[in-house]
């Protein structure tokens, strides 16, 4: 059992992180904490992708030293880490930053309208307004 956990520790770590994020998004009443949960959730997936680039016995980062046409060494793909997941995650990091930015801007709008970021209080204020409106 222990060996099973240790041999796949990257998967365990990302699942634990993801569940922390999911818990924060579902259970926290403060909108900023929900946003932090969302970030943890996205980061967990990014770490998962980065960890799958590793291959057994590969030590080099994929920088090709001598590849100016002639005289290039034969490259053994097995010696190198798989760079593709890392490249994908550069894009995913940009996406996650953009999402955080939009969400923060929306949170500023929410704070200006209700003077609070607690979801319960906002619902309370909205109900009071609806009653006053009727």
């Amino acid at each position: 059992m222990l060996e099973f956990i240790i041999s796949k520790y990257n998967f365990w770590l990302y699942v634990i992180l993801m569940m922390i994020g999911l818990y924060a998004m579902l259970a926290k009443r403060n909108l900023v904490k929900k946003l932090i949960g969302m970030n943890i959730f996205q980061t967990a997936i990014i770490l998962f992708y980065v960890s799958i680039g590793v291959k057994k016995g590969s030590v080099h980062v994929p920088i090709i030293v001598d590849s100016h046409g002639h005289g290039a060494q034969l490259i053994h793909a097995a010696d190198y880490l798989n760079p593709l997941p890392h490249v994908l995650m550069l894009t995913a990091i940009v996406v996650s930053i953009a999402t955080t930015g939009v969400a923060l801007a929306v949170l500023i709008l929410i704070y200006r309208r209700y003077q609070t970021l607690n979801e319960d209080e906002i619902i309370h204020i909205r109900q009071a307004r609806q009653k006053a409106g009727v």
């Binding site: 998004m25 969302m38 998962f48």
Partner: protein, 497 residues
């Protein structure tokens, strides 16, 4: 030139979004003609691609010259071309409509809204043009992020609704991304067509099954399939009129397109029948969605909110068509997408016009609207007929195919549910028509003013024209549904039914 169309259709609106800021800085009023012009060009490109594909078959475009499966492949078959025409068409109608609507609802913010509008169209077109799973994720997020921005511009409570949408949308996109990662672990490829060949030997691997489940849940969240629909009504209700007139017809339908691609082009229906009965689960969820959506719609007192619940019900029709996994079901899923884009665009834009004149869209406020805004209400009635499924509108044909699909699958319970939901549709749409047509605030028959003179007070032509165009599109797609089936849907019917 013509072979560069697949790239141009993405690049043109993307560059236009960047150029909007300097153009808006010169004069804010230039944004409107700029938006209409560029989206018009996109529509022409989409139509050009569609003609090219109907004449000479699917196109594969290697982005940047990198050959698939290593590079990003833009693969366009009949379904992609159809979706592109629908997206740029509905986008064009929204762009025409945006002039007076943005000026009234977002005064001083037209430049930013126009730029976001371009990005939204770029993202939606990107989702349907690309054949690379990770690329789909990126475009999905471009479309969603610009959608969040546009919805947040709406009314008083819009930011809170948007925040909830952001949380749910991000969970959906992350689930999809995780599914893609699992497929990458087990096959080492991200190309949709390549994966279709690599996956069959791995069908009994638990990793592939998890990937399929994660991707389908992610897409269901994005397309608001019951019970993952809670974010939708509020977000679409609070959005500005133009935005809800474009977001409501397009976002959930693009989700439907992705679901078709995942079930039929990435995996095969065989996979779901042999390993895990996802199609059965989906079809039952769809049935609940179309009943619950209609029941909630009846309970609403506000026209726009009612239509938001109707979107949820329609997602049920699309998913049911997909999940039946037979020819008639598949045909009905695509026809429902076509019908939904035309109808929801017509009805939401008409509701926006009502809000433009009346200030709100409460159903008991609509009296005499047929005499006050005759053209808008004519278009609304055509839309309502199509939602109910009265011939010759497109809604009739999509429902007919769906019923045929249920008969072919031998699912008699589904037929009962479909007929019930049609009756519910009749109730909630005819309630609006009754309020607008037959109800009199103070029926005082003793006096000659029992039917007071109501002056015609239509919205500006720039808003009326897209509404009427959408209404005529409903009739045209209905009359031309036979052409759609033979030229678009039959060539892409998956093998093995």
């Amino acid at each position: 030139m013509a072979q560069q169309f697949p790239a141009l259709i993405i690049v043109i609106p993307l560059l236009a979004a960047l150029l909007t800021a300097p153009i808006g800085a010169i004069n804010r009023r230039l944004c409107y003609p700029w938006l209409v012009f560029i989206i018009g060009v996109t529509l022409v490109l989409a139509l050009g691609l569609m003609i090219q594909i109907i004449n000479s078959g699917p196109i594969s475009y290697a982005m940047g010259g990198w050959k698939p499966p290593w590079g990003i492949e833009y693969k366009i078959d009949q379904l992609n071309a159809l979706m592109m025409v629908l997206i740029s068409g509905a986008g064009f109608l929204g762009a025409l409509y945006s002039g007076p609507s943005f000026t009234k609802e977002l005064p001083g913010r037209q430049t930013a809204a126009t730029a976001l509008y371009f990005l939204m169209i770029t993202g939606l077109l990107g989702i349907v043009v690309t054949g690379d799973l990770f690329n789909i994720f990126v475009f999905l997020e471009i479309a969603s992020l610009s959608g969040y921005g546009l919805i947040a511009c709406g009314s008083e409570d819009a930011p809170l609704a948007t925040f909830r949408y952001i949380i749910m949308g991000t969970i959906g996109a992350s689930c999809y991304l995780l599914g893609v990662g699992y497929l990458y672990i087990s096959t080492g490829s991200l190309n949709l067509a390549d994966l279709h060949h690599l996956l069959p030997p791995l069908y009994h691997s638990r990793v592939v099954l998890t990937a399929a489940a994660l991707m389908l849940v992610g897409i269901s969240l994005k397309m608001a399939l019951f019970p993952l629909h809670a974010w939708l009504p509020e977000a679409y209700f609070e959005a500005p009129s133009t935005v809800s007139g474009v977001v409501a017809p397009l976002y959930t339908k693009v989700g439907g397109y992705l679901m078709i691609r995942i079930i039929y082009n990435l995996f095969e229906p065989k996979f779901f029948i042999e390993t895990f009965p996802i199609t059965t689960i989906l079809s039952w969820t769809a049935i609940i969605a179309l009943l619950i959506g209609s029941i909630y719609a009846i309970a609403q007192k506000d026209l726009k909110k009612m239509l938001c619940y109707s979107v949820i019900a329609q997602v049920g029709y699309i998913v049911l068509g997909i999940a039946l996994a037979n020819q008639a079901g598949f045909t009905s899923a695509i026809l429902t997408i076509v019908n939904e884009v035309c109808t929801k665009s017509c009805i939401f834009l008409a509701t926006g016009a009502i809000i433009y004149r009346l200030g709100n869209s409460r159903i008991d406020n609509l009296q005499h609207l047929y005499r006050r805004m005759p053209w808008t209400m004519l278009a609304f009635t055509i839309g309502a007929f199509s939602m109910v499924g009265i011939p010759p509108t497109c809604g009739f044909f999509s429902k007919l195919y769906l019923l045929c699909g249920c008969v072919a699958a031998g699912r008699w319970a589904f037929i009962a549910a479909l007929l019930l939901s049609t009756i519910l549709n009749v109730i909630y749409f005819f309630r609006v028509i009754k309020a607008a047509c037959f109800e009199n605030p103070q029926p005082d028959y003793s006096r000659s003013e029992a039917y007071p003179l109501v002056e015609v007070d239509e919205v500006p032509l720039a808003m009326l024209l897209p509404i009427l165009l959408a209404a005529s599109a409903i009739i045209i797609t209905g009359l031309g549904s036979n052409w759609l089936v033979t030229n678009i849907i039959t060539p892409i019917l998956p093998l093995g039914f």
